[in-house]
Amino acid sequence: MAIDLPARRPDCDVLILGGGVNGTGLARDLTLRGLRVILVERNDLAFGASGNSSGMIHGGPRYLTTHPEVTRSSCLDSGYIQRIAPHMIFRIPFLMPVYGRGAKAQVMLDAYDAFFAVYDQYQPLKRGRRHTRLTADEAVQAVPGLNPHNLFGAVTLDEWGINGARLCNANALDARERGATILVHTTAEEVLVEHGAVVGARVRDLLTGVASTYTARAVVNATGAWSPITAALSGLEGRVKVRPGKGIHVVLDRPITDVGVMCNAIDGRQIFIEPWGNTCLLGTTDDDTYANLDDLPVTTDEVRYLVEGIETVLPRVREARIVGTTVAARPTLYAYGPTEDALSREHEIVDHTAHGASGLYSLLGGKLASYRLFAEEAADVVARALGFTARCSTHTTPLPGGDRVPEPEMLAARFRITPYAAARLITRHGSRAEAMLSDGGRRGAVTVCTTEPVLACEVRYAVRVEGARTLADVSRRTNLAMGPCGGVECALAAAVIAGEELGWTAAEVRAQAASLIEARRRSRLPAIGVDQARAEGAVDATLRGLGRAVMA
């Protein structure tokens, strides 16, 4: 196909397709090395697996026996992430209970004990605590409500949690502030290849419908589970394969346990419940998916599978209030044959020169915990190919707000907000929380979403600085509407603020609020229980107030 591109300096050195953690991590790395970067994301940053993972920066214990070097590098990288984003990470202690009697249970507990004794060697790299071995009584003390029936003993292990959506936004923001262009709700429609070399891409803004062409010296396909679709846009059908594995989480309204607990599901798979910020996650499923990646469904079956499994170790999960579910497809490396759990979680960089498109790369596989390392490896390849020699500095340069973690109490006193609101703001924005509150004035310190909580200044910041273009984008950046109210209390208020920033009409404000509330309901419906069913009436009343259900 002949495309008439003017012979001029390309718009950028590297055009990155995909705004997950690999794409944004790569954008930051390349920008820090001095490359000019444009990133386009079809939905929103962290829309897929990055924003809907289990939210852990773990040390990779599953590789301990087969690939100990992977465990070591994972732990090392976990340590780096603590250094560059200390405000974002939070400790998640886990308990692995062993049930049963006699020699079999004893062997199992000894095996766990020995296994985590080896893992302990790497824990210092990520400031992790050594594992402990607990008797049944000690385990019940450590996790009140743990099912004591037939409990033999337990071991503990120490991991770190992180909000994947915040991590993507921090990487994207840093890249943007260093000169990169980050475009959300913009999809690649064609990757342009001339004489065997990639020259850019034609993209379309999905909100405005406007198409444009960006020229680039290299193009990186970092679209995760979407990467085969993206590859097809450059005529490379079948050259890129992943095996998308759908995983869901069930989100509870509060941490019903301070300690994560692992257990086996009905089919023997390992699942867990973990305290996560001011919520609790039950996870996760892993099933091959052939569904539309932009609109993956969560089913009642999946929710019940997780709740039934967790109930065996923590019976009170049955009484907990489910406020939503998360769903995404892992971009697992392709293999035909193995069951989902047996697939490799490794990553791979594909250079498409051999496929007739030099300068085009695909990033496949990977996981949240090792995103930085993957981005570094990819940046090494891409930067070297373009003649840049600067070395990676993403492990030493703090992410935005990560230079210093303010004290919540001090921030609260200074800006007359609650210490809890201050603490939550700090987990998302670190040292930047101060400037956000200062710039926002009296109006900025007003609480919009009471459950998270989210302040008015943060909503404005999500639009003005972090590039949110819809209310759902604001929600992903702030956790707005993610709590029990599902947006009934806050969607309209937040839409008004976002609308002021984005110039929405009153009708658009209303539509954005209604669509966020409906999206939250959709996420909740497969998990609906007694209390939720009752609360749905209030949601209907609100939607009617927004003109959704009634158009007389």
Partner: protein, 364 residues
């Protein structure tokens, strides 16, 4: 223990129950009403939606007004809603400039956005209550003199305007705040409509309750209807009530008349539950581990499910035709409601059921 006797027993004190009690009383029956706190009627924002308008017109007693164009927070106009309160401003009746009053500390009230939408002008008042919620501000407007003082401080800014639009803060306890401000300003003063639980909604729910005739006996407690040839209802903490006719007006999922717990159930009389597509869902389903709620709720709003009525307003059985009992009627959200049903429909169905129940009681 001797049982209390009544002609018509209405179970539920929301809009449907109150309308049923009023209709039965007007038809000459002795009426007892059993109520519990909460329910969907308390979740009105102050604007009244619904497909039925006849009852509304007939019972319009000044507290409710005919439809108009009302501003909601978020600056959108409902074009066909009814206002449950005299304080709401029908902006279509305003000819001339509308003064929109700023409330700087509330996140969802953007006077600028409202004024831009309506072509109005933003004005600022002195000594506005500093609060983050409309309810907090409304409590201050209840205090004698506060609303008048604020109105006085608006006077010069509102010169040349045709009306004044306030955020939804014009009192929680008092209904005359708008009128008091209007007297000071010499201009019509109205408020926008807030969300569920905001001051206009609280006042509107109170206005509905005022429709209950004083002659109706009110009991508080959870009621359970016994199956049988005669209407016998156990009211927790009160005792047994014998009635000639019973109206179930216990609400839907929001009100607590219908619950979802692995299956959908009607809790007061244990009668079959149906969806909008007319499938009876409270019979045993094919799933051994509990039914899938998405199957019913995907049809539309979750509160559409409920009991089904025959043409005489009687609750029907799982066969879809036979009345469960001659004496059992139902109204409001506990019944299958069409999409878009609202408070007006609860009132209308309450009135139909109340009249039918009174006929049954009189004839028994």
């Amino acid at each position: 223990m001797s049982a209390t006797e009544t002609g018509v027993l209405v179970i539920g004190g929301g809009a449907a129950g109150i309308a049923a009690a009023r209709a039965a009383h007007e038809a000459g029956a002795t009426v007892t009403l059993v109520t519990l706190p909460g329910g969907a009627t308390t979740q009105t924002a102050g604007l009244v939606w619904g497909l039925s308008r006849d009852v509304f017109r007939q019972w319009n007693d000044g507290a409710f007004r005919e439809g108009g164009r009302y501003v909601t927070v978020g600056a959108w106009m409902h074009t066909t809603a009814f206002a449950a309160l005299p304080s709401l401003l029908d902006v279509s009746s305003v000819t001339g400039t509308l003064a929109v009053v700023d409330l700087p500390t509330h996140p969802s009230w953007s006077a600028r956005l409202v004024a831009n939408t309506l072509g109005g002008r933003v004005v600022s008042a002195k000594d506005l209550p500093v609060s983050e919620t409309f309810r907090e501000a409304a409590v201050k407007f209840d205090t004698a003199g506060v609303a008048e003082g604020i109105a006085a401080s608006l006077k010069s800014a509102c010169e040349g305007c045709a009306a004044v639009l306030m955020p939804p803060v014009l009192g929680l306890r008092h209904d005359d705040v708008a009128a008091r401000m209007a007297a000071v300003l010499g201009l019509p003063v109205g408020e926008a409509v807030g969300a569920v639980g905001d001051p206009p909604g609280v006042r509107a729910a109170r206005a509905v309750r005022r429709w209950l005739p004083a002659a109706v006996t009110v009991l508080e407690g959870r009621a359970t209807v016994a199956k049988g040839g005669r209407a016998t209802v156990d009211v927790e903490g009160v005792g047994t009530v014998r009635a000639k006719a019973v109206v179930l007006a216990t609400g839907g999922l929001a009100g607590g008349g219908i619950v979802f717990d692995r299956a959908l159930r009607e809790v007061t009389a244990n009668v079959p539950v149906w969806t909008r597509t007319r499938a009876c869902v409270s019979a045993p389903s094919g799933a051994s581990r509990g039914a899938d709620p998405t199957a019913w709720f995907a049809e539309g709003s979750p509160d559409g499910v409920g009991v089904r009525l025959d043409a005489s307003q009687r609750v029907i059985d799982a066969d879809g035709a036979t009345a469960v009992a001659r004496w059992l009627f139902a109204a409001g959200d506990v019944t299958v409601t069409p999409a878009g049903a609202g408070l007006l429909d609860a009132l209308a169905s309450g009135r139909r059921a109340g009249e039918a129940a009174a006929r049954e009681a009189g004839g028994g």
